[in-house]
């Protein structure tokens, strides 16, 4: 069963979770043998930007040692064999260029999202 995971929400609890929880979920399910493709759309495309840095937060004496590294996690998921697409128009509208993004993420046009849905047995929009 081929599943398309669509990620749209950006920076939702990512500091506290130390992950994008849907990227994380996909990573674990891929490891369990799932067949996934990821489509990143809307603001979540910013998770693929290589220049992100949220390190250095501290609260009283507590320092965050493992901040989320969303670009790196995206690259890792690609290395595990998951295709990650992003909606090109959403990126352009947000002032993002292909060179800003993690190598290996693939742009698709908004018009092609329907074809991507058709190519999968189920579509999970998180």
């Amino acid at each position: 069963m081929k599943i398309l995971n669509i990620i749209e929400a950006a920076y939702r609890g990512t500091i506290e979770e130390q992950d994008d929880t849907i990227l994380w979920l996909t990573t674990i399910m891929k490891g369990a043998g799932g067949d996934f493709t990821v489509l990143v759309r809307g603001n979540a495309i910013n998770h693929c930007v290589t220049s992100q840095d949220c390190s250095g937060l501290s609260f009283g004496g507590w320092e965050q040692m493992q901040p989320p590294r969303l670009a790196s996690d995206t690259a890792t998921l690609i290395d595990k064999g998951v295709e990650i697409h992003y909606v090109a128009e959403d990126a352009a509208e947000r002032g993002l260029r292909p060179g800003d993004m993690v190598p290996g993420v693939k742009p698709i046009s908004r018009d092609a999202v329907a074809d991507l849905c058709n190519a999968h047995d189920q579509v999970w929009h998180w």
Binding site: G13, A32, W124, W126
Partner: protein, 137 residues
């Protein structure tokens, strides 16, 4: 009665915060009354939906005591739907994502809820007829 199917739901929202948790519970109630087998994978805040320590309270804005207010507690709604499934002889499997439970301290769930992992969601989805994911915002 419709042909019995196995349906999986993945949900993320905690109780009392959005309309999505209510719609989920409505869907589960309908699905169970239709005679379908149900799987639920509760991710993130949704692990609080079957939290056993939810407590009813009075409503001073309306002058109602706790009994009169009869406040919705999602744990009770889930237990009632589970009971309906049991009477119908259909399956109702609710899995709380274990790490989500740990970080939230939500480890006291009502009977019938089990702890699991994303591998359970994958297995549920693979072994059921259809899956609906209700994401959060």
């Amino acid at each position: 009665m419709a042909e019995r199917k196995t349906l999986t739901f993945a949900v993320m929202d905690p109780p009392f915060e959005t309309a999505r948790s209510t719609t989920l519970l409505r869907l589960l109630d309908i699905a169970v009354r239709r005679g379908h087998n149900i799987n639920v994978f509760a991710y993130e805040g949704a692990v609080y939906l079957p939290f056993a320590l939810q407590k009813a309270h009075p409503n001073p804005a309306h002058g109602r005591n706790a009994e009169e207010e009869n406040h919705v507690l999602t744990k009770d709604l889930i237990a009632a739907v589970m009971a309906t499934a049991e009477r119908a002889g259909t399956k109702f499997d609710w899995v709380n994502c274990g790490m989500c439970v740990d970080e939230r301290g939500a480890d006291q769930a009502i009977p019938g809820v089990r702890r699991g992992s994303p591998a359970d969601l994958l297995k549920m989805a693979q072994e059921s007829d259809n899956t609906l994911v209700i994401g959060t915002r």
